[in-house]
Symmetry: C2
Subunit: 482 residues, 2 copies
């Protein structure tokens, strides 16, 4: 480490306190990504306690970088480190500071009349959900990592999850932000307003920017009244087209009460059956796809059940559902959700696979899957497809598993590039996105130029260079400057 | 006009056709704003037929401006010219081109399975609503000017209206955009995706930028299933606090079915009674405020009525409603809405007043009104307040009318600055916004620096200079560069 960097670290120690600047010992909790695809090295892990400390740390780094433009210094903001695209861990240079927001975890305020809560970036999603519930309200963002991921990370990556159908992505649940800019200034934008047309919407720019434009330190979030009943149903559908038809029918019947619509392919379910023998699956063997529906009712359990049963009856008459069950109680409902949420782990137990987090318009869903399945089968005979996802949002986790008997590591090494190209080209042809909810990070940064409009990319680049001209904030993530 | 400008105009004529470049005759439909506060002069009114023509016109202007930086040339994008903040009409220099999107009015596609429609910027809002309805779907954006305003203008200004409570502002109804940049490039971002995390959300940057960063030429919009019943109720409430309490109760009872919650002050209603003697108002004389509620039900008329009546019963038991009626039929419902929507015209008939379009958190609503009313009464004894607005969104049209007997023009001339300062200072103190839904335009551009965070303003400025370095697009609107 250069003498100048020593001085910088000493200054940072005076800002956040010696014990909150980690440089030694096992730092892998911060330097290794959740899926363990990347093992980086940090100049230091810095854990500030409040927005003022964040601002002072960033300001010190900004001044240092201006004085030492070739130092390679940069800042990687990090929340719960559960991201899936290697966007919040340092690279191998040892010149990146991991700025962890974990200590900033306070729920600053719940405003029940305004239906908002203001929380710090390091607040774990589940804690935010619980504090809302304690006030009799609902913060509906929900995803598998909710026990570990943080609000700051959720917003930095514009997280999706299972409730997007009704409530939108993380950005749609946010009314205001507090942000530390790459210069170390603080933007106090913690508005609780549902209408504010006084200039460019900066909030939406920072959300989903994955820490490349500044550091989100707190947010004001939307809350909703708690539903009176949440009912879950499981339906067997005879085809992808039928699943799309069922979605349309469910939207007509349930409208805003439809809070979940998850598709699961037969092979994906067979993996759950194989690797989780404690879970009792509803019949799935004789149907290509199953759908999990959730109805969050504002009236009563009886009303929710009547609504859901009327929908399923209609669907069976029309032929888009061949068999269905409605969960009788909370335990049954939880089991159905557990089956859905066990798919990622079940496929991990089956061996490494090539993951995609793609979206297409719902109207192109069936055509996309048919087209891509056929291309892959032709390129790699016997290839197995773990299809599941949030059909209601047009979002599919279209994962590709090696043919039976082929070594998974070899498959990944030899076929990943080809498989990605086939899938991404098909996504593009069907008007879709190669990253629906996980983001870009460093994992997809070099794919983007092939699949995103050059006008969009150059506009993004102009914004990045205007707001962070020295490229201090999370460089090499989302976009490259040269 | 300089010879160079003559050459530019000739080039534009070859792009869009001679008949679509207007330079003579009465151009006031394009050069005068809707409220007739500003009478500008245009170098020309240019009416391109498609995105390609828009791009070529902008490109020609960009090249001209680069060659003639002192020419004062700029472009003012315009839709239906119904804006309220003088943001889409030219200034007095005669060097601004009004680029009217009126000829680009096609609904390009309705995708019923994806619940989206793609429309051109010049499409009138009402036409978009009708085309959605013809497909059995609902485009819920709704506002007084809907027969004249355009989708491009709605998005450029992030329009609000009466359905924000349930569906959000215009930005929340948009999935993708087609935009011509200040360089004359076309960003094809007409995505129908509900999830796309591939970089900065440019769509949200252009929406609400009032044409200062580029020209929106088309958009993909969200559609919803049509409700089975839409019921309207009218409630007398004993205080502002009671109105806020009723809102919370209505949100619990109706959740997403609550699509309207409009507050009207007694004085505002008395103006309607005075100037619209054909309208029969429900009793309002013995109550300080009335509330209009709308319940868009997904089941049936009977269900909607039961829900609404249960809510009102609860509210009367709690004392936050003293009297209420539920419209018996569509005609009655329309009359109730007509009363609400006649307030702006009624106050116009009463004489000029000082208008504000402000928002505060719902939880600060009552305190804001009490505080500001008292300050104004102290400053201008006898001042009359026309309070009405979208309480559900925290948005109030807090308009200030001269005391009885005082000349309205004199009042405006002598008191406007003082009244604005009192109201805006109070808005700021209550965590609100000085422009909730109308935007900034040129009318509020010089207020903004006093009421917006300097960090936000400098970030906005950096973005503007990065994307439009020569300040071609709608200069002097939203923000000043120097």
């Amino acid at each position: 480490m250069s003498p100048a960097m020593h001085i910088l670290l000493a200054e940072i120690r005076t800002i956040v306190g010696n014990t909150h600047v980690l440089t030694e010992g096992d730092l892998s909790a911060w330097t290794q990504d959740w899926r363990q695809r990347s093992h980086g090295r940090a100049l230091a892990v810095v854990r500030p306690a409040n927005v003022d400390e964040v601002a002072r740390v960033v300001s010190a780094c900004a001044i240092f970088l201006a004085q030492h433009p070739d130092s390679g210094l940069s800042i990687v903001p990090q929340g719960g480190n559960t991201g899936l695209v290697v966007g919040s861990t340092p690279d191998a240079t040892g010149r990146q500071i991991v700025l962890s927001l974990q200590r900033m975890s306070t729920v600053r305020r719940v405003d029940t009349a305004n239906l908002t809560m203001t929380v710090e970036a390091g607040c774990i999603l589940q804690k935010a959900q619980e504090q809302a519930r304690a006030a009799g309200l609902w913060f509906p963002l929900s995803l598998a990592a909710e026990g570990t991921c943080t609000i700051g990370g959720n917003l930095g990556t514009n997280a999706g999850g299972t409730q997007v159908l009704r409530f939108g992505n993380a950005r749609d649940l946010c009314l205001g932000l507090e942000v530390v800019t790459p210069q170390g200034d603080v933007w106090q934008g913690l508005s609780g307003l549902r209408k504010d047309n006084t200039g460019y919407d900066l909030k939406h720019l920072y959300i989903g920017a994955e820490g490349t434009l500044g550091i989100i330190t707190a947010a004001t979030l939307k809350l909703y009244p708690l539903p009176k009943a949440q009912l879950t149903a499981w339906a067997a559908v005879p085809s992808m087209e039928a699943a799309v038809q069922l979605l349309g029918l469910a939207q007509q019947h349930l409208c805003a009460s439809l809070t979940g619509f998850e598709l699961m392919g037969q092979f994906a379910l067979s993996l759950v059956a194989r690797h989780f023998d404690n879970l009792r699956l509803p019949p799935y063997q004789n149907t290509p796809f199953c759908v999990l529906l959730e109805n969050a009712d504002t009236e009563s359990d009886v009303h929710a059940r009547n609504q859901l049963e009327a929908l399923l009856e209609d669907a069976m008459t029309l032929g888009c559902v061949t068999d269905a069950v409605v969960a009788e109680n909370l335990t049954q409902a939880q089991t159905l959700w557990q089956i859905r949420e066990s798919i990622p782990l079940a496929q991990a137990s089956e061996g490494l696979n090539i993951k995609h987090d793609i979206s297409v318009p719902v109207s192109a869903f069936a055509a996309f899957v048919a087209h891509t399945d056929a291309l892959l089968e032709r390129a790699i005979p016997g290839v197995r497809l773990v299809n599941f996802g949030h059909l209601g949002d047009g979002n599919l986790h279209y994962n590709v598993q090696a043919p039976v008997g082929m070594d998974a590591a070899v498959f990944l090494r030899e076929q990943e590039a080809l498989v990605n190209r086939i899938v991404f080209d098909s996504v593009l042809a069907h008007g879709g996105s190669i990253s629906a909810e996980h983001g870009v990070g460093s994992l997809k940064v070099d794919h983007l130029p092939h699949y995103k409009s050059p006008v969009a990319l150059s506009t993004m680049r102009a914004i990045k260079m205007a707001l962070d001209p020295n490229n201090l904030m999370n460089p090499g993530r989302v976009l490259r400057l040269s």
